[in-house]
């Protein structure tokens, strides 16, 4: 037995948990963990791998920022990893206010405001509809509800390409194809499966007694929703908001298919600026524009932290 334990300790590099607990219980001597050598081979391996991977993840962000702060002559001469010799904010200004897409030369600002005008109402409408719907499914089940819900969830896995054209026809019939309203409807539709699931599960997890007590007191469908469910569910609303804001902001396909060029969201405009075939390629402007487009979801990510992880774990199904 002793050899096995020793072998184990060397191999795994940590002292056996059971032994530790026992030791703590029986003897009144030194307490706490046995001090571990900070530079054991195991630690070097773990931290080394993690740091190398972290560099791989950080590298593109670093290069983006560095490139966007250089002038074009320096980019042509130098290496992309080198920090700028002369910092210039010219590319940022140009990307924001005068980069060209086709005939328009008013920069990404147009796309930014379009994206704001798309994201804000789409987020609000989709969350409002899905939360009420999830509430109905969790607390006011009616015959057939589960069938529709199953279709909705299965539908989340259908590639968008299959449903795009029928939606174009429906929107055209409604007279909103190409407009912001049309795009908001589309985002509401495709956000519905995951959001409804999220809210349904959350409301179903709340104590049923609350709901019953409110019923006994004579509260109806909407009263219970607005006075009890809504105030109790702020965390899940924040998760849904994070999910929708990043998802809608990052969308490209729907923006291209369902809007006219004057309403193109930022991602579409960014792609048009960077991948345009005419003119000299200005890599610094391109990178500044790319950072600007990524800035909003990055901001949401860094501010929301752990909630973001919860949101994407739920929303990953959306793809």
């Amino acid at each position: 037995m002793p050899e096995i334990v020793a072998f184990n300790t060397i191999d795994a590099g940590i002292e056996p948990e059971a032994e530790k607990v026992q030791a703590r219980a029986t003897q009144a001597g030194p307490r706490g963990k046995k001090p571990r050598r900070a530079l054991s081979g195991r630690n070097i391996m773990i931290y080394g791998t993690l740091i190398v991977m972290a560099l791989y993840y950080l590298l593109p962000l670093y290069v983006m920022v560095m490139t966007s702060l250089k002038g074009m002559p320096e980019i042509r001469l130098g290496n992309i990893f080198a920090p700028p010799l002369e910092i210039t904010f010219e590319p940022w200004v140009k990307a924001w206010s005068s980069a060209c897409t086709g005939l328009n030369c008013d920069g990404l600002s147009r796309g930014f405001w379009n994206s704001v005008r798309i994201t804000v109402p789409s987020t609000i409408v989709s969350i409002a509809i899905a939360s009420i719907n999830g509430y109905a499914l969790a607390n006011w089940r009616f015959k057939g509800a589960d069938l529709f819900f199953t279709i909705l969830i299965v539908g989340a896995f259908i590639p968008y390409q299959v449903m795009i054209y029928p939606i174009v026809i429906v929107l055209r019939e409604l007279g909103v194809y190409g407009s912001l309203t049309g795009l908001i409807i589309v985002h509401t539709i495709f956000g519905m499966p995951i959001l409804t699931l999220l809210f349904r599960n959350y409301f179903a997890g709340l104590p049923e007694e609350l709901f019953k007590a409110a019923r006994v007191d004579g509260a109806g469908f909407w009263t219970i929703y607005f006075r009890i469910m809504l105030p109790m569910s702020m965390p899940i609303f924040v998760v849904a908001m994070i999910l929708q804001v990043t998802g809608i902001w990052n969308d490209f396909l729907f923006g291209v298919v369902f809007t006219r060029p004057e309403y193109y969201p930022m991602t579409v405009q960014l792609n048009n600026i960077v991948n345009s075939v005419q003119g000299v390629k200005e890599y610094n402007v391109n990178m500044a524009a790319t950072i600007l487009t990524g800035a909003v979801p990055l901001f949401v990510y860094f501010v929301s932290g752990r909630l973001f992880v919860r949101g994407i774990a739920a929303g990953a199904v959306k793809g």
């Binding site: 096995i4 191999d11 056996p16 773990i46 972290a54 993840y57 590298l59 593109p60 962000l61 490139t67 990893f81 509809i129 009420i132 509430y135 109905a136 499914l137 607390n139 006011w140 089940r141 009616f142 015959k143 509800a145 529709f148 819900f149 279709i151 299965v154 539908g155 896995f157 259908i158 590639p159 390409q161 449903m163 054209y165 029928p166 939606i167 026809i169 429906v170 539709i189 519905m192 469908f221 990043t246 902001w249 490209f252 396909l253 991602t267 960014l270 792609n271 960077v274 991948n275 890599y283 990178m287 790319t290 487009t293 990524g294 990510y301 932290g305 973001f308 994407i312 990953a316 793809g319």
Partner: protein, 302 residues
């Protein structure tokens, strides 16, 4: 449950619970009209020779024959298979190894997690454009390595039609592995500490414990992750558009892009519908067995 406990007399089926039904109208419309109706519509019209506008003149399997004879479609499918296979394998391996490392009670866990996950917050367009720049042979990684003295160094995946799909793969892995790591880490944290104690007492080396005990125990997490990655793979579109626009030539075309181009640019709707139906079939092949395993067999999970 509430709906069943009340109204034992059932005076009027349709008027009961009216508010809930009203609140579910958007869901019912989406499920029935868009998801179900739209899908059936597309499948039906894939058997027609619709060009600029959808027309109901059936031509049997013509569109599919044309589709599977088109070099561009074959290239798209081949790319999807290569991209899909490697992105599955690498996402799972890298994601799991990173999660296992993160699970060693390390310091700065939150910092590492934040760094690994931030690319997932970025759109595929941003990801594609950054990697387009990094892989630019004139200025990017290739030129930097060459300037260090290794002048014959060649790494230009985006300009070499044989390996362009791997250039896209690198960007996709950068964007997506953080998510896989997070899902796996959640799975690892769900494993009972007693399992670890038991294997330590038995003197089983750590790597063996992971391989033979932990991974089989995390079957559910693996399958869910697999489905998430796989359904993302089939949809890959923006990344290719941003990074290569399908080039050089048709070397990095993917099915989703084929569908879009035929529907909205080549104005050959029939081809687009046939191609999107093939995408649907692919997803069904992935999803149906999973759904059966997960939800079928009498085991219900909410």
């Amino acid at each position: 449950m509430a709906g069943h406990t009340r109204g034992s007399g059932r005076p009027n089926q349709w008027l009961r619970n009216l508010n809930a039904k009203f609140a579910s109208v958007p869901m019912i419309l989406t499920a029935v009209v868009i998801f179900l109706g739209g899908t059936i519509w597309t499948v039906v019209y894939s058997f027609t020779n619709s060009k600029l506008l959808p027309r109901l003149s059936f031509v049997g399997l013509d569109q599919y024959e044309r589709l599977w004879a088109a070099p561009r479609w074959l290239m798209s499918v081949q790319n999807l298979v290569i991209y899909g296979f490697f992105s599955l394998v690498f996402s799972l391996v890298i994601g799991f190894v990173l999660a296992a490392l993160m699970d060693q009670k390390i310091r700065f866990e939150n910092t590492f997690r934040t760094i690994m996950l931030y690319p997932f917050a970025l759109s595929f367009i941003v990801t594609g454009l950054v990697w387009q720049w990094l892989l630019n042979p004139e200025f990017g990684i290739q030129s930097v390595v060459r300037s260090l003295g290794w002048t014959s160094f060649a790494f230009d995946p985006l300009y070499n039609s044989n390996i362009v799909i791997y250039g896209i793969l690198i960007a996709a892995l950068w964007q997506g592995t953080g998510l896989v790591m997070c899902l796996m880490l959640a799975g690892l944290r769900g494993i009972d500490e007693d399992i670890w104690k038991a294997t330590r007492v038995d003197g089983i080396p750590m790597w063996k414990t992971y391989l033979l005990v932990i991974i089989p125990m995390m079957r559910g997490v693996f399958i869910t992750t697999l489905v998430i990655i796989a359904s993302g793979i089939v949809k890959v579109y923006d990344l290719v558009v941003a990074q290569t626009s399908g080039g050089p030539g048709i070397a990095s075309e993917v099915p989703a892009k084929y569908v879009y181009d035929y529907m909205f640019q080549a104005q050959n709707l029939g081809q687009g519908f046939a191609a999107s139906t093939m995408m649907l079939v692919t997803v069904a092949i992935i999803i149906v067995p999973w759904a059966y395993l997960e939800f079928g067999g009498g085991r219900k999970r909410a």
